[in-house]
């Protein structure tokens, strides 16, 4: 079972805000901990992958439920 250290609700926010908020949130957790992010902007799908890869973070799980994208990002 994955332990979620922190949850960021970025629903309703348009690009670039979801990534900006996510970057700030990831700065507040420790390496190896998991951040949960909720987003409704569909453009986020590719941006989160590319952003995480660039920073060395891993997206350990992602899903879509009722129009909301959930990302689980483990900090590098």
């Amino acid at each position: 079972m994955m332990i979620i250290t922190k949850t960021l609700d970025a629903k309703g926010l348009a690009c670039p805000m979801p990534i900006i908020r996510t970057k700030k949130a990831i700065d507040t957790i420790n390496s190896g901990e998991v951040l949960e992010v909720l987003v409704t902007d569909k453009g986020a799908l590719n941006d989160f992958k590319a952003w995480a890869a660039a920073g060395g973070h891993s997206i350990v799980e992602q899903k879509e439920e009722a129009g909301v994208l959930y990302f689980y990002i483990q900090k590098a």
Binding site: A14, C15, P16, I19, K23, N46, D47, A50, W51, A54
Partner: protein, 375 residues
């Protein structure tokens, strides 16, 4: 420094007038490599916006001060952010309102030429997607061929010209973009034509577009005549307009030819494609000016922004018309094809009337280049 806001129409002027422009594209690398704003004299720098959250100092050196600089992203939010950061750093830059989404949707109407008795032919160039639509105008009447889904562009244009839209044609069932044809026909009371062989699964009424069908635009002599020319799809049909122009749909482009695989039947249709390009078209007059439904690369644009070339010239210059060996031709159009257009199967379903996505969903489906050709 302040940030300027450019519309897609502003960018289109730079493309058509051959101007220099420096584009800072802040989408992620995959999106940029897949599809970008093409211009004859454009330079590019692609840095994803999320790499610039801590500041733009590191890229300032790479951004020229003697060119116009335009920041571009998918919708516009990130480009505004980056443009403002650059402005704070003392740079004079602009962003593209609506981003690539707006670019994908923008249509530029350009007059191709005059027809008999005061008639006119217009090409609607969708620069961001490479789609070309046409309007034939004569004596208060109009025919539209291969309209894209922004129906109001065509209905408004007809209104400005004081003409009534009487006939709306699709040369084939499109797989790369959503047709506006039947919607324009519904709004205006015009007749909507589709080749019956492409329309077996459609769920709406249409008038069959059959070989040799001819309609007159206005009361004078301007004829739009159909020529069955299968190969891209089994129903693909070309038009000869006023004995001067050959509208080839997705069968023949300026620098490439149509691909036969988007309905899943490349092997079956390659023979038809060969027959159309190497026999049917050969019987036509060399002086006809070819007007395709797409362009793939910016080099296919003429100096005035139109996409048009004499058929006789294409017989000499277009590689796809000069593969003498049938087996080589067969291999070329069935093996190693480029990736298929984004969401092409869903787009076909929309064009058959089977699904009706929201406007936003339609925009998403049409993102990216058209990829209807084999080069």
């Amino acid at each position: 420094m302040s940030v300027n806001k450019w519309t897609a129409a502003d960018v289109a002027r730079y493309v058509i007038e051959n101007k220099q422009l420096f584009i800072l594209d802040v989408r992620n690398k995959d999106a940029f490599e897949d599809w970008k704003i093409e211009g004859h004299q454009f330079q590019y720098l692609n840095i994803p916006y999320f790499d610039l959250l801590d500041g733009v100092e590191e890229i300032l050196e790479q951004i020229p001060t003697d060119y116009d600089v335009l920041v571009v992203c998918a919708k516009e939010g990130s480009s505004i952010m980056v443009a403002e950061m650059l402005a704070e750093a003392g740079r004079h830059v602009a962003y593209l309102a609506g981003g690539m989404k707006a670019w994908s949707m923008y249509l530029e109407p350009i007059k191709v030429g005059n027809l008999n008795g005061g008639g006119e032919l217009y090409q609607f160039v969708r620069l961001g997607k490479g789609c070309l639509s046409y309007m034939v105008i004569s004596e208060g009447e109009a025919a539209i061929i291969d309209a894209v889904r922004f129906t109001e562009v065509f209905t408004k244009f007809a209104e400005e010209k004081g003409v009534k839209i009487k006939h709306v044609f699709d040369t084939h069932l499109h797989a790369d973009h959503i047709s506006g044809g039947r919607h324009i026909a519904n709004e205006t009371g015009a007749t909507y034509y589709l080749p019956p062989k492409d329309a077996e699964e459609v769920v709406f009424d249409y008038t069959p577009l059959t070989d040799q069908l001819t309609v007159k635009i206005g009361s004078s002599e301007i004829e739009v005549g159909a020529l069955y020319s299968p190969g891209h799809t089994i129903g693909s049909t070309s038009f000869v307009v006023d004995g001067k122009y050959l509208l080839t749909g997705d069968i023949l482009f300026i620098d490439s030819i149509g691909r036969p695989d988007l309905a899943g039947l490349a092997e079956d249709w390659v023979g038809d494609l060969r027959e159309t390009l190497y026999r049917r078209y050969r019987e036509l007059a060399n002086h006809l000016v070819v007007l395709p439904a797409h362009f793939m690369i910016i080099d296919e644009l003429n100096e005035d922004g139109t996409v048009a070339r004499r058929l006789g010239d294409l017989f000499v210059e277009n590689h796809g018309l000069n593969v003498l060996d049938e087996e080589v031709f067969r291999k070329m159009v069935t093996d190693g094809l480029p990736p298929q257009p984004n969401a092409y199967q869903e787009i076909r379903q929309v064009n058959m009337g089977k699904i009706t996505p929201t406007n936003d969903e339609q925009t998403e489906m049409e993102i990216g280049p058209n990829r209807c050709a084999v080069r």
